[in-house]
Each structure stands twice: as structure tokens, then as C-alpha cells.
């Protein structure tokens, strides 16, 4: 068996020297093998040590990383951890190559892409500049970039995100490596692009007979492409095995939890299972289905009529260029229901949210809240409505003022809107809301930097609740969170809706999450509405091509019928 392994990781430990006195152990003695000509997935949430492990293979860790002598990474009979720098340079890019999460920053901004690909060929294959340039064109065409002759001369910023990642892939396969390490290669990309890139990697793996080490947090992707799976959590391997075994007979509660807490397209339980359910009780994920949908009889709380938003970019000294971001968008939000807003980046979905609560000035249109046009109100009149429409942002690390205590954060809106008759009452309300969103009351005295991403998002939710809003806009509010935390926050949002009758506009690029939480779904593309329908309806019976394409791109996860080599 061992001769079938291309690379063996044995008892790998990685410790980071944080400062003079403290260290942080990111990887705690893991072992796994990468078989020849197979795709191996390394799955885990943030902080699991998956990327660190992969970077250790090529010695690409930062200078403050310490690896003990007992750790070994065997490749071609030698230990890579003890290889000379020259030997490592030989292997990098030739035998083992890497693609990264952020193609934009991973390519050198000042060199044309052809030069960056040619550089590897000249270095490892001894090609002449002319031959390397010609080969770069072939490689670009192989990874599916149109007009490769023209594109070799492009600079990275002139390409789209998907094309940049294709260039990275072309660079990585240039020397026919035996192993391709793909570190979250599709996380920064739109779902339709993700599908194309995944297909490209799978095709190349087969064609060039290479092994792939695929690092991801997304089990849906794993189920589609991997042969073997390693599940990591907090620096240890919780479970590993063939993909079929992992998906059909998961042994470790963490694996089970990861598989269950991600919303699924085919089911909609009353609440999502969370990790604790599995870690403590072994987890029985039997929940009733939740009915969803909007009927004609539902009361409308918010109506948007032909909303337009155009941005003006400064061009030259006096010139301006108009960039329409939202074009003629109209919809209704029913009281106590959730409207999902999906689309890829640049679809204008976030702009709709910001514009309708006047964080941006609309170019034209009406936003009728209980019959009054919010866009026509003066700033003073708007104040009374501000508290009734609130928003939760995407990035939990940026949405709380780092210099405020949680107490300041929660009492500030109450002070502004005169909620609570004195400070004492406001503090009491803040305490109450903190426990309502599942945080200890002592959080009141702490600063945001002491909380995790999920906890910060709870604080942001509590801040909105202080104003007792009617409408809550969730702008990618769970997108930056790990799967397990995501489930908890989604459950909290659902509980709050059930309890207070809140109406949500739920903006997300994640189709599975939107399907789970929404009654009605609005699909947007390039600033325009593609389709609006009830959630189940749109998934079962999409009317528009774009919707169909979008739905087809969702990673399907494990399919028992998939042929695994």
C-alpha cells in the first residue's frame, strides 16, 4: 500500500511563536497519506490547521513557525522537512505546486500573466524565453481562457476573478507536477465560477495523472470531487477515510455534525442541528419540517417600487461615469416573513438593502413602509423610521466599534431613540437582550475583540433588537461564519422571527442558506430582478435560465451513485 502513496505526513506538529513568551500550537501531531493519482480533501473549519498543514509540505510557512524533528513529511523517499532549501526549490512548482484562495493577491500585480507562467517553465524545464512564452499560450488555452494569445500580455488586474484563478492553475500545472495543492481555491469565487473551476481541476487531475490535495471548509465540494477525506478540527485529525465511508457512515460526532448542520436543499427542519447536539448526545437529527411560503393574503409591511441606484465614478478632472448598480427593482415584503435576496457578486443585492434604508441615496424610486415613502422623508422625519428598519452586516469583525464596550454598543441606539426612561432601565434591557441572544450578561462589560465571530454577530443582532425593529435586513450576515456557527445564528434569527414577528430581507450568495431561511426568494443579476417566487417553487420549478444555471452550480455534496475510482 505504501508504495502507492505519493506523500506521507507523519506526526506533523506546527507551533507558532506568537511573541517572546507565548506560542500557539496550530497543528497537533497529524498523520495522513496522499495516494498517487487521487484527490484527497482536507476539510475543517477556521482554525482547524488545514492550510497550515498543507503549507508545511512545501515549507511555505511564515518564519515564526516551529516544526519539531519528530515530524516527517516523506516524499520520494526523503523527508521534505529536512530537505535543503535548494532541494525544496527544485520540488516546488515542479513536483508539487500550489494554488491559493485569493487569486487576485496571489498573482504579482506588476508582471503580465504570460511572464509569470513562463518564469516557471524557464526555471524548471530549462526552456528558452521564446519557447516558454509559446508554451504559456498553450497552457492558458488548456485552462480555458479565451484569446490566450492576447491574454498572455494582460496584467492580473485586467482579468476576472475566475480567469485569475485559471492563470494560477496554468502556472501550477505548467511543469506537470505530481501533486497539486489547492488551498480553498474557490472560496473567493461566485458559485457558478466555482463549479467551472472545480470541473477544470477534476479534468486536469485525470488528464495529467496527478494527485490533488484539496483544502476546503465546504463538505458539499468535498462530496463532489474527493476520493479520500481527512476531517480536521483544532489541529487534530478527527476522522479520515474514503469519501463514501465519510459521507455514508461517519464515525466521529464532529464529522456527523458537520454533515448535518449545513442547510440542505431537500429538507427544511424547524431548526438546524448544531454541533453541540452531536458532541454531547450523539445527535439525533429528527426535526419536523417547517412550512414556508407567502400567500396573497399576507399583510405587506414594506413595498419597493422601481428602485434605481446609479453610482458615479469620477473620471478625469470634471468627467463622471455612470455605473448603474440597481435597475428598476420592485418587490413586496410580507409581515413576519423572510424575503431571500440571492445573486452573485455585482448583482446589486447589497445595494438594494443599503439604499432602501437610506444608507445610500437612491437615484429614483419609492420605498413604502406602512404606506409612507421613506425616500421622500426629511432627515428628521426619517429618524422615527430608522429604528424600525435595521441591518446586520456581513463581517462580524468590522461591524462593532472596537473602542466601545458591548454595553456602549447596546445602549447607544436606545439613547439616540429615547428608549428606556433612564440609563438603569437601558442597562437592564441590554442585559435581557444579551441573554436573549445567548450571551452571558457579563459580556456587557467586555470589548468586541474578546468575542468570536459568531458571538459578535449575536451582539450585532442584540444591537438591532434594542430598537425593536419591524424589518431586519441581514446582509450576508452568516456568510463569514463557520458552518457550525452559521447554524446557531440561523436558528437564533428564526427564533427571533417566531417570537417577535420580525420581517427579514435575507441577502446572501449562498443558495442553500437562502432556501432554508426564506419564504420567498428574489434572484438578482447585474442590478435587475431575474425572478421572484416562493422558496420551494423557485427551487423546484425555476422559470429563468439564469436561475437554473445558478441552481445547477450548487455543490451537490455526496452522491451515492458517483463512481469513485
Amino acid at each position: 500500500m505504501s508504495e502507492d502513496n505519493l506523500l506521507q505526513v507523519q506526526d506533523l506538529r506546527v507551533t507558532f511563536q506568537v511573541d517572546k513568551h507565548s506560542t500557539f500550537e496550530a497543528v497537533k501531531g497529524i498523520s495522513f497519506d496522499i495516494p498517487v493519482n487521487r484527490t484527497m480533501a482536507l476539510v475543517g473549519e477556521s482554525g482547524s490547521g488545514k492550510s497550515v498543514s498543507a503549507m508545511a509540505i512545501l515549507g511555505l510557512l511564515p518564519d515564526n513557525a516551529i516544526i519539531p524533528a519528530t515530524s516527517r513529511i516523506l516524499y520520494g523517499g526523503a523527508d521534505l522537512l529536512k530537505a535543503t532549501p535548494e532541494r525544496l526549490q527544485d520540488i516546488r512548482g515542479k513536483d508539487i505546486s500550489v494554488i491559493f484562495q485569493e487569486p487576485m493577491t496571489s498573482l504579482n500585480p506588476v508582471f503580465p500573466v504570460g511572464e509569470q507562467i513562463g518564469e516557471v517553465l524557464r526555471l524548471h524545464m530549462g526552456m528558452t524565453p521564446r519557447a516558454a512564452a509559446a508554451r504559456a499560450v498553450e497552457l492558458l488555452s488548456e485552462v480555458g481562457i479565451p484569446d490566450p494569445q492576447l491574454r498572455v500580455r494582460s496584467f492580473p488586474h485586467e482579468l476576472s476573478g475566475g480567469q485569475q484563478q485559471r492563470v494560477m492553475i496554468a502556472m501550477a500545472i505548467a511543469c506537470e507536477p505530481k501533486l497539486l495543492i489547492a488551498d480553498e481555491p474557490t472560496t473567493a469565487l461566485d458559485v457558478t465560477i466555482q463549479k467551472q473551476i472545480l470541473e477544470l481541476i477534476a479534468g486536469l487531475q485525470e488528464k495529467h495523472h496527478m494527485s490533488v490535495l484539496f483544502i476546503t471548509h465546504d463538505l458539499g465540494v468535498v462530496g463532489e470531487i474527493a476520493d479520500h477525506v481527512v476531517v480536521m478540527q483544532n489541529g487534530v485529525v478527527q476522522e479520515q477515510g474514503p469519501v463514501r465511508a465519510i459521507f455514508e457512515r461517519p464515525q466521529h460526532p464532529y464529522t456527523k455534525a458537520l454533515l448535518e448542520c449545513r442547510p440542505r436543499l431537500d429538507r427544511r427542519p424547524m431548526r438546524l442541528p448544531v454541533i453541540e447536539d452531536f458532541m454531547t448526545s450523539g445527535g439525533s437529527a429528527n426535526y419536523d419540517e417547517r412550512p414556508r411560503g407567502v400567500t396573497a393574503g399576507d399583510a405587506v409591511i414594506l413595498e419597493v417600487k422601481s428602485l434605481n441606484k446609479t453610482f458615479f465614478l469620477k473620471e478625469g478632472f470634471f468627467g463622471k461615469r455612470a455605473v448603474p448598480a440597481v435597475k428598476d427593482v420592485s418587490f413586496k415584503l410580507a409581515r413576519g416573513k423572510t424575503l431571500g435576496l440571492v445573486g452573485e457578486s455585482g448583482s446589486g443585492k447589497t445595494t438594494v438593502g443599503l439604499t432602501l434604508m437610506r444608507l445610500h441615496d437612491a437615484t429614483s424610486g419609492e420605498v413604502l413602509f406602512e404606506g409612507r415613502n421613506l425616500l421622500g422623508l426629511s432627515d428628521k422625519e426619517m429618524m422615527a423610521y430608522r429604528r424600525r428598519i435595521q441591518i446586520i452586516f456581513q463581517n462580524p469583525y468590522a461591524s462593532l466599534n472596537p473602542r466601545f464596550t458591548v454595553g456602549n454598543i447596546l445602549t447607544e441606539p436606545m439613547k439616540i431613540h429615547g428608549i428606556g426612561k433612564d440609563q438603569k432601565e437601558r442597562v437592564e434591557m441590554a442585559f435581557h437582550l444579551l441573554s436573549r441572544v445567548g450571551l452571558p450578561e457579563a459580556s456587557f462589560y467586555k470589548y468586541p475583540h474578546e468575542f468570536s465571530g459568531g458571538q459578535r454577530q449575536r451582539i450585532a443582532i442584540a444591537r438591532c433588537l434594542t430598537m425593536k425593529p419591524d424589518v431586519l435586513i441581514c446582509d450576508e450576515s452568516v456568510s463569514a461564519l463557520d458552518v457550525s456557527v452559521q447554524a446557531q445564528v440561523l436558528n437564533l434569527l428564526q427564533d427571533l422571527q417566531d417570537e417577535y414577528g420580525l420581517s427579514y430581507i435575507f441577502i446572501s450568495h449562498d443558495l442553500a442558506v437562502v432556501k432554508y431561511i426564506s419564504d420567498e426568494i428574489m434572484v438578482m443579476n447585474q442590478g435587475e430582478i431575474v425572478e421572484i417566487a416562493n422558496a420551494d417553487e423557485i427551487y423546484l420549478n425555476p422559470k429563468q435560465d439564469y436561475t437554473r444555471k445558478l441552481l445547477a452550480s450548487i455543490p451537490k455534496g455526496w452522491d451515492a451513485n458517483r463512481a469513485v475510482a
Binding site: M383, Q390, I391, L400, N401, H417, G438, A442, Y445
Partner: protein, 350 residues
């Protein structure tokens, strides 16, 4: 969802350390930083003591013979002292001829007159002084202390004013953008397109000389760098979600500018303040040297260096050394403290 976290013990109701407290703790952990802080504090207390007249109060008294040797060089010959006593004050030949452009030239007479006046009442002069004496036999060490008072005072106040101007304008431009930004950028471009030494000279040409003038000049010409950085911070933070969230809850513009964003830009401002103290101390020295700085009846490191230029050629190095070294120590400590401050305040570290 796991309802309320199990919290059997009563919640601990004390304030957590804020970012400032944490930064302060980090700074205290940095041995170099603490050492530099101690030096800076020592200098500032010396400045205050000197201001209160506790030390170096009589720096202007002529205690020793002309160019009195430092105590540790007591035996060295002092030709000049003899010469000067013999010839009366004044006409020491200047080995380097700077007459037509020497900015101090017009003042020699004035100084000499005053020196002559005091000389009449002179009783007995020491042969040596702790760190030597200058041409008129004044104690160089006391001069250096008194000089540090002026230099540090000018550096600190001018930096405070420049930071204030830069912060307010930067906040306005960065927060409001649009027309306000265009106007302030125009203003900024004007001030930066004139090399600042010219700007200083131009201001110096039209204002009367004095300590207040030099502070005003340095502040009016030195705000541009701070403006630029503060503006960048405001643009960066203005787009952050916590500021949008503040807008969403209805916080006023004033509150967003100064309650929300300002504390988050304050580390940049503090580091800039500290950097500008250093560069203004350097600038004051140069201005005083050129005769555009402190008035004649005051001493600063710059005027000391101006005198030292001619003394070095006749081998009297101690005034140059005293002024140069006392300034170098302070400035090194201040720069390294700035580095430590930046490390301690850097939000990337948390």
C-alpha cells in the same frame, strides 16, 4: 440553539481592559520602550524644572573664564582665555569667514556689548566648569539644560498644534469627501508644493521673531503629513460596517466623526504626534541656527550649535558635543519610543 450559556457562577461585573489598556500593557512589556519612555519623561521633567527655575536658572551668568575647560580636562591649556582677558572681549578673529552670510553676524556686536556690561561687575571666574564654558564663560551644561527647555517646549507645542490642525482638517476631508475633500486637498497641495523650508522662511520673513512665532510657523507648515494620514484613516473607517451601523441606528454626523471614528484613528494620531515632536525639535534647531528661531536673549540647542561652529576650529568641542549629544539622546529615545508605541498600538497584533 443552546439557550443561555450555562453560567452558574454570578457574572463577574468588572470592566474588561480596553484596547488602550492592552496597548499600555504591551508597551510596558517592551523593555526598550520603557527605557526610552523613562528618558523622555526625564527630559520633560528637566524641562519643567528648568522652566520653574529649579535648575539652570543662572545659565546666563558668566561663571568661568572664557572657554573654561571642562573639569575632566582641567590641565589643558586655554590660550583663548588668556588672550581674551588680555584683549578685552570681542574681536576674536573668526577662522572661518562667513561674514557676509553668517546670520548671527549682526548680533555679535549686541552680544558683545551686553557681555561687556556684565564683565564690569565680574569678580572672580572659575578656571574650569563641569562641562566647560563658552566664549563668555557661561556653563555649557546649564546652557544645554536651558536650551533643552526651549527646544522641547517648541517641539511639543508646535506638534500639538500641528496635530490638532491636521486631525480636524483630515477628519473633515475624509469623512465628508466630495467638495469638502476637494477643497482641502487643494489646500494641501498648495502647502506641499512649496518646499517646507521655503514656507518656513517665507513665514519667518513676514512675522516678527519670537518663541510664539516659531511655534506658529512650525504648526502652520507641519500639519500636512498628519492631515493626509488622518484623512486616509477616516476614508478607511468611514466605509467600515460599524460606522454604517452607527448611521443605521441614527447616530449624528458629529457622533460618527468624533465618538465612533476618532478613537479608532487615535493610535495613528498619537504616533504622528510623537514623530512630529522629533522633527519639530530638529527644525527648531535649524531655524535657531539660521537666526530665524528663538530671540537673542534665549538659548536653544540651535543657537548653541551656531556658536559651536566657530569654536570647533579652535579646538573647543564641548559646546558642540553638549548640544549635539543632549539632542541626540532625546531624539533617539523619542524615535524608539515612537516605534514601540506603534508596535503596542498596532491593531494588527491583536
Amino acid at each position: 440553539m443552546s439557550a443561555v450559556l450555562p453560567d452558574n457562577a454570578p457574572p463577574v461585573m468588572h470592566q474588561s481592559p480596553g484596547l488602550w489598556t492592552l496597548a499600555w500593557r504591551r508597551l510596558l512589556n517592551d523593555r526598550v520602550g520603557v527605557f526610552c519612555l523613562a528618558i523622555v519623561v526625564a527630559y520633560v521633567s528637566m524641562m519643567l524644572a528648568s522652566y520653574a527655575g529649579l535648575v539652570a536658572g543662572d545659565w546666563n551668568k558668566e561663571k568661568g573664564v572664557s572657554y573654561a575647560n571642562p573639569s575632566f580636562l582641567a590641565g589643558a591649556e586655554n590660550l583663548e582665555a588668556r588672550e581674551v582677558t588680555n584683549r578685552d572681549f570681542g574681536t576674536t578673529a573668526k577662522p572661518v569667514d562667513l561674514s557676509d552670510i553668517d546670520p548671527l553676524a549682526p548680533r555679535y556686536k549686541e552680544w558683545e556689548e551686553r557681555a561687556a556690561k556684565i564683565a564690569v561687575t565680574e569678580v572672580k571666574r572659575a578656571e574650569t566648569l563641569a562641562f566647560g564654558g563658552d566664549k563668555w564663560g557661561r556653563d555649557v551644561l546649564e546652557k544645554a539644560i536651558k536650551g533643552s527647555e526651549v527646544s522641547i517646549f517648541v517641539g511639543l507645542t508646535a506638534a500639538l498644534f500641528a496635530t490638532l490642525i491636521g486631525t480636524i482638517l483630515g477628519a473633515l476631508a475624509g469623512y465628508w469627501g466630495g467638495r469638502v475633500n476637494d477643497f482641502l486637498e487643494w489646500f494641501y497641495n498648495i502647502f506641499t508644493s512649496i518646499p517646507y523650508i521655503l514656507l518656513i522662511l517665507a513665514f519667518a520673513a513676514v512675522f516678527k521673531r519670537g518663541l510664539d512665532t516659531i511655534i506658529v510657523i512650525l504648526a502652520l507648515t507641519g500639519w500636512t503629513g498628519i492631515y493626509r494620514l488622518v484623512r486616509a484613516e477616516y476614508i478607511k473607517h468611514g466605509g467600515r460596517e460599524y460606522v454604517k451601523a452607527a448611521q443605521a441606528i441614527g447616530a449624528s454626523h458629529f457622533s460618527r466623526m468624533f465618538v465612533h471614528i476618532l478613537p479608532n484613528a487615535s493610535h495613528v494620531i498619537l504616533v504622528q504626534l510623537s514623530q512630529h515632536v522629533v522633527s519639530f525639535i530638529k527644525a527648531e534647531v535649524i531655524l535657531s541656527f539660521l537666526g530665524l528661531g528663538v530671540p537673542v536673549d534665549m538659548v536653544s540647542w540651535g543657537t548653541m550649535l551656531a556658536e559651536a561652529q566657530n569654536e570647533l576650529v579652535i579646538g573647543k568641542w564641548w559646546q558642540l558635543f553638549a548640544a549635539g549629544a543632549s539632542m541626540a539622546i532625546l531624539v533617539t529615545a523619542f524615535s524608539m519610543l515612537t516605534d514601540s508605541l506603534r508596535d503596542a498600538l498596532d491593531p494588527k497584533l491583536k
